[in-house]
């Protein structure tokens, strides 16, 4: 070990050589190399966490760059895991970086997280978050949880060994919200610095937990507000009314709504299929975005029914047989499609434009 590299933290009162050794021996898995994962990875690598695993199956896109600060413009299209691992290894040549360019699912998550001591959840969807929570609870792995929404963030530590009885995410939110209930960053927007702050705080909590310093947020959830710089910490205790798998078999039988497994009655279409459906008899094209969202579509072609008004729309009847739902990224349109599918079953054909207006921008700017 190069003592010089870590000198400024080793000389810190209350940290020292022993704490540094603990970091160097630790194995941390960071799930999601996105807005939260990038800053967390940078500080964990720089601080000398001995083994860092990175899980992400996604590639870098231009709209990632305002917050995913490990990546540059020339990295667009490359695998996040590859670029992140290369940058981190250059930053600290003395640690091991392990690449996992996969999406975690029921059938692979237990194998991967069992190889690590601490798990940092920097994912961007509830399916992954509940999957990770349950897997960590099953294997008793300390889980550092960070998430953002709008201008706010949440930070917590679950299953920490020294803070018994340990709690998990389901003690706060026993079951996941319905699709579309809580907008994500792609739908709702996010200021890049917010996941930067939360990801850095998650790295700090990980380091505190490993080094055994301070009061980590074990069995607590911190709410952070960027606009007011206020923090509000809530104590988490054991709750009931939820199912936590107690065995591997029970875990494998859980439903985490992996996209590959989800039941679907509606059809996800691309822009060329949209053009064909537009030619059919009895078609309604519905733009479910809120009224302030851009670009504005031709009101002669697209009926605007924002998600905030969709409940009222659902209570009424309409005659068209084919219903195409469109939004910015194809996420809210899926929620709307599911609701209509549930109401109408086979009585109407429901479609959702996959990838939304952003993916087919050229198509919409032309039409």
């Amino acid at each position: 070990m190069s003592a010089e590299r870590y000198n400024r933290q080793i000389i810190l009162k209350g940290f020292g050589e022993e704490a540094q050794q603990l970091l160097l021996r630790a194995k941390v898995l960071v799930i999601g190399a996105g807005g939260l994962g990038c800053p967390a990875l940078q500080y964990l690598a720089a601080a000398g966490i001995g083994h860092i695993g990175i899980v992400d199956d996604d590639t870098i896109s231009l709209s990632n760059l305002h917050r995913q600060i490990l990546f540059t413009t020339t990295d667009i299209g490359k695998l996040k895991v590859e670029v992140a691992a290369k940058r981190l290894q250059e930053m600290n040549t003395q640690i091991g970086i392990i690449r996992h360019p996969i999406r975690l699912q029921k059938n692979n998550i237990l194998d991967i997280i069992s190889r690590y001591d601490y798990i940092l959840d920097g994912t961007d969807n509830f399916e992954s978050r509940y999957l990770i929570n349950d897997a960590c609870a099953l294997l008793n792995k300390p889980l550092i949880f960070a998430a953002v929404s709008g201008f706010e963030g949440q930070l917590a530590i679950f299953n920490a060994p020294d803070y018994l009885p340990s709690t998990n995410y389901r003690d706060i939110f026993p079951i996941p919200p319905d699709k579309g209930e809580i907008p994500n960053c792609a739908e709702n927007g996010v200021l890049g610095v917010l996941p930067g702050i939360l990801g850095t705080m998650a790295a700090a909590e990980t380091i505190k937990l490993i080094a055994g310093i301070g009061q980590p947020l074990s069995n607590q959830i911190l709410n952070y507000n960027l606009l007011t710089q206020e923090q509000y910490t809530i104590n988490v205790s054991h709750g009931g009314g939820y199912t936590l798998p107690k065995t591997v078999d029970e875990f494998l039988n859980m439903d985490y709504q992996d996209t590959s497994e989800g039941p679907q009655g509606y059809i996800e279409i691309d822009a060329s299929e949209l053009v064909k459906i537009q030619q059919l008899e009895s078609v309604i094209l519905i733009d479910v975005r809120e009224r302030h969202e851009l670009p504005v579509l031709d009101k002669q072609i697209f009926t605007q029914i924002p998600m905030s008004e969709f409940g009222a729309f659902m209570s009424k009847e309409f005659y068209q047989k084919h219903v195409v739902l469109i939004c910015q990224h194809g996420i809210r349109s899926v929620a709307a499609a599911e609701a209509l599918q549930e109401k109408y079953g086979d009585a109407k054909k429901i479609y959702s434009l996959k990838g939304g207006i952003v993916k087919w921008r050229d198509h919409f700017l032309r039409s």
Partner: protein, 77 residues
């Protein structure tokens, strides 16, 4: 009964941080009922209450000047 309300995320868009003074609310179940009547949008949402910074896991007595936080789940990253 005086209660201070603090809300987060999506919920803060329709419930401002405020102090209320209402009669007939003596526990968290009654408060939840009151909230969902006042703010029907809350009915369809997942959220958790915290009474004086402690997560509410079962019906709990509220004393005057309590602070109740209303927290939705976040998933973004």
């Amino acid at each position: 009964m005086k209660i201070k309300m603090i809300s987060f995320g999506q919920i803060a868009e329709f419930i401002n941080n405020q102090k209320i003074d209402v009669d007939g609310i003596s526990d968290t179940d009654a408060f939840k009922q009151y909230l969902e009547n006042q703010f029907p949008a809350l009915k369809g949402m997942k959220y958790k209450l915290a009474l004086n910074k402690n997560i509410v896991q079962e019906n709990t007595e509220i004393t005057s000047n309590a602070t109740i936080a209303i927290m939705p789940p976040f998933s973004g990253g």
